[in-house]
C-alpha cells in the first residue's frame, strides 16, 4: 500500500511540476503561477499527516530545484516545502479538515512556503528584488493557490485517502 501511495504522490508531483511550468505560465498574472506542488504537499499533509507530507515536500522541492527552468540555488524549495509539510501536517492532527480548514491551511502554507523561499534566497545571496515586489508576488501566489484549492485539493485528498485504509488503532 505504501508503494502505491508513493507512486501516486510521485505522479501527482510530476504532473504538478509540468502544469505549473508549461501550462499555467500562459494564464499567469504578472508571471506568478499557482504553486501546484505545494497543493499536493498540503493534500498529503491533511490526509496523511506531517511525516508523509514532509517527505513529499522535500522530494517535490528538490525536483523543482533541479528540473530545467530553475536557476536558483538548489535546496531552497526543498526546505520551503518540507516546512510546509510540517506546518500543514500539524493542522491535521488538531482538527478534522473542513472546507474552511482546508482553504485556511492552503493560504497559510502558500504564504509560509513562498516567504521561506524568499528568506533563504536572502540568506544565500540569491535574491535581488525589492520588498514591494516580493510582497506582491507572495500575495498573488496565495490568491492563486486559494482559487485553485476547490478544484485540486478534493480529488488529491480523495486519492491519498483511498490509498490508505483506515488506520487500526
Amino acid at each position: 500500500m505504501t508503494t502505491a501511495r508513493s507512486l501516486a504522490a510521485a505522479a501527482a508531483v510530476l504532473l504538478a511540476l509540468l502544469l505549473q511550468v508549461s501550462l499555467f505560465p500562459h494564464v499567469a498574472w504578472q508571471g506568478v503561477v499557482p504553486n501546484l506542488a505545494l497543493l499536493v504537499v498540503v493534500a498529503g499533509a491533511l490526509t496523511r499527516g506531517p511525516q508523509f507530507a514532509m517527505v513529499v515536500g522535500f522530494a517535490a522541492g528538490a525536483l523543482i530545484d533541479l528540473a530545467p527552468p530553475a536557476d536558483h540555488v538548489a535546496g531552497r524549495w526543498a526546505l520551503a516545502l518540507t516546512v510546509v509539510g510540517y506546518v500543514a501536517g500539524r493542522v491535521r492532527s488538531e482538527s478534522s479538515p473542513t472546507a474552511t480548514t482546508v482553504v485556511g491551511t492552503v493560504a497559510a502554507s502558500s504564504f509560509v512556503g513562498t516567504s521561506l523561499f524568499a528568506i533563504t534566497g536572502l540568506l544565500v545571496g540569491d535574491l535581488s528584488v525589492g520588498v514591494g515586489e516580493l510582497l506582491l508576488v507572495i500575495g498573488v501566489a496565495v490568491l492563486w493557490d486559494v482559487v485553485l484549492t476547490p478544484f485540486v485539493l478534493p480529488p488529491l485528498m480523495g486519492l491519498f485517502r483511498r490509498l490508505e485504509p483506515a488506520r487500526v488503532t
Binding site: 511540476l17 509540468l18 511550468v21 508549461s22 501550462l23 505560465p25 500562459h26 494564464v27 499567469a28 498574472w29 504578472q30 508571471g31 506568478v32 503561477v33 504553486n35 499527516g49 506531517p50 511525516q51 514532509m54 517527505v55 522535500f58 522541492g61 528538490a62 525536483l63 533541479l66 528540473a67 530545467p68 527552468p69 530553475a70 536557476d71 536558483h72 540555488v73 538548489a74 535546496g75 531552497r76 524549495w77 526543498a78 526546505l79 518540507t82 516546512v83 510540517y86 501536517g89 492532527s93 513562498t114 523561499f117 524568499a118 533563504t120 534566497g121 544565500v124 535574491l127 535581488s128 528584488v129 515586489e133 516580493l134 506582491l136 508576488v137 498573488v140 501566489a141 488506520r167 488503532t169
Partner: protein
C-alpha cells in the same frame, strides 16, 4: 497492550523480562503524563526529527550548489533535465494549441494598443511593429530568425520555449527544446527575430535553461548604437510582461538620446554574448546628483511575455540534430 505484544516478539527484549517490564512501565507513565493516544504520539514524535533531517538535507543541497559553482550537482541536474525536459516539451506541445486561441486574442489586442501609441513615430518603427505582429505565425517567426542570422553572421539552432520559471522563484528563466544533441552549450547567446533574449546557463541532452536578460542577476555588456558609448545592461526583474532594463554607461558625461538603439558589445570568442545583437531602445535617462553615473532605461525589442521561437547562436559548422539556420539565411540540413 499492542506494545507489549510487539516487544514480546522481539528476541532481545524477551530474553530479559525485567527490562521489558521497566520499559512498559516507563511507556505507561509517559502516556499518562501527556494524555496522548499511542497513535498520535507515534505520529508526532518522530516528525520533528524528520523535519530536522530533511532541513539539514536541504541545507546540504544548498551548500553543494554554492561550493565550486555547483559542480557537484551538475550531473544530477543533467539526469533530472533528461527526464523532465522531454516531458515538458511534450506537455508544451499538447498545451500550445489549446492556449493558442486566447493568447492570439490577447496579443492581438495588446499589439493594437501598442501600434496606436506609436503611430506618430517614423515609418521604420512602424514597419518593425508590423513584422512583430506576424510572430504569431510560426513560419514568419522562422523567417525572422533567418533574417537575424543573415544580419549577425552566425549559425542559429532554431528551438521553441517549452517551460517558464514561475515568478515565485524570483528569477527569469525559460526552458528551450534544444540541448547538447542540437549543439547547444552553456554560455551561448539566445536571440529571437526581434533581438537579444538571453544566454544559456545549463544544457541537458534535449533541453537547455536560458537566463533572460530581464533577470536581476543578468549583466550584458552593451553599447549605444548611435554614439558607441559602452555600458552595462542589467535586468530589473520586473514581474510580468513589461521587462525594462537599466543601462549604466562607463562614460559618466555621455547622455544618450531618446530612441537610440542599444546593441551588445560582445565578448571574446562570442561567449556569453556575441557582438552586435540589437537589445532595445532608450526610453528614459535619469541622472541624480548623489549618484555619479546616470541611469538609462532601455525598453527591449523582445516581448518577453510571449516568447515562442528562439535561436541559439552557435559557431558555423556545429554538428546538430536539426537543420541550422546558416549565416547566409539558408536552412542547412542536419549534419550528423
Amino acid at each position: 497492550m499492542a506494545l507489549l505484544e510487539r516487544t514480546g516478539r522481539d528476541g532481545r527484549a524477551a530474553a530479559s523480562p525485567r527490562r521489558l517490564g521497566s520499559l512498559t512501565a516507563r511507556r505507561e507513565r509517559r502516556e499518562r503524563r501527556w494524555h496522548l493516544g499511542p497513535d498520535l504520539e507515534r505520529q508526532q514524535r518522530p516528525s520533528r526529527s524528520l523535519l530536522v533531517a530533511l532541513g539539514l538535507a536541504s541545507a546540504t543541497l544548498m551548500t553543494l550548489d554554492l561550493t565550486a559553482n555547483g559542480a557537484a550537482l551538475d550531473p544530477v541536474r543533467g539526469v533530472v533535465a533528461d527526464v523532465v525536459g522531454p516531458a515538458q516539451a511534450g506537455a508544451s506541445a499538447i498545451v500550445r494549441p489549446v492556449v493558442g486561441i486566447p493568447d492570439l486574442l490577447r496579443t492581438h489586442s495588446s499589439l493594437r494598443a501598442e501600434v496606436a501609441a506609436l503611430e506618430e513615430e517614423n515609418t521604420a518603427l512602424r514597419a518593425e511593429l508590423g513584422s512583430a505582429a506576424f510572430q504569431r505565425n510560426r513560419l514568419a517567426a522562422y523567417d525572422a530568425l533567418t533574417a537575424a542570422a543573415e544580419d549577425l553572421g552566425y549559425s542559429l539552432v532554431p528551438s521553441r520555449v517549452v517551460g517558464w520559471g514561475p515568478a515565485q522563484s524570483f528569477s527569469s528563466t525559460v526552458t528551450i527544446d534544444a540541448g547538447t544533441d542540437a549543439g547547444v552549450r552553456p554560455d551561448m547567446t539566445v536571440v529571437s527575430g526581434a533581438g537579444l533574449v538571453g544566454r544559456v546557463v545549463s544544457a541537458g541532452r534535449t533541453t537547455a535553461t536560458v537566463l533572460l536578460i530581464t533577470d536581476p542577476s543578468s549583466t550584458v555588456g552593451a553599447r549605444v548604437g548611435d554614439t558607441m558609448d559602452m555600458g552595462f545592461l542589467r535586468g530589473r526583474g520586473v514581474v510580468g510582461d513589461e521587462g525594462r532594463l537599466d543601462l549604466e554607461l562607463v562614460d559618466r558625461t555621455a547622455v544618450p538620446a531618446r530612441q537610440d538603439s542599444v546593441v551588445t558589445w560582445g565578448s571574446d570568442g562570442g561567449a556569453p554574448y556575441v557582438a552586435g545583437v540589437p537589445i532595445g531602445r532608450v526610453t528614459h535617462v535619469y541622472s541624480s546628483l548623489r549618484e555619479t553615473a546616470q541611469r538609462v532605461v532601455v525598453d527591449p525589442y523582445v516581448d518577453f511575455g510571449s516568447l515562442d521561437v528562439v535561436g541559439v547562436v552557435v559557431p558555423t559548422g556545429t554538428v546538430s540534430d536539426r537543420a541550422l539556420v546558416g549565416p547566409d539565411g539558408e536552412l542547412r540540413e542536419a549534419g550528423r
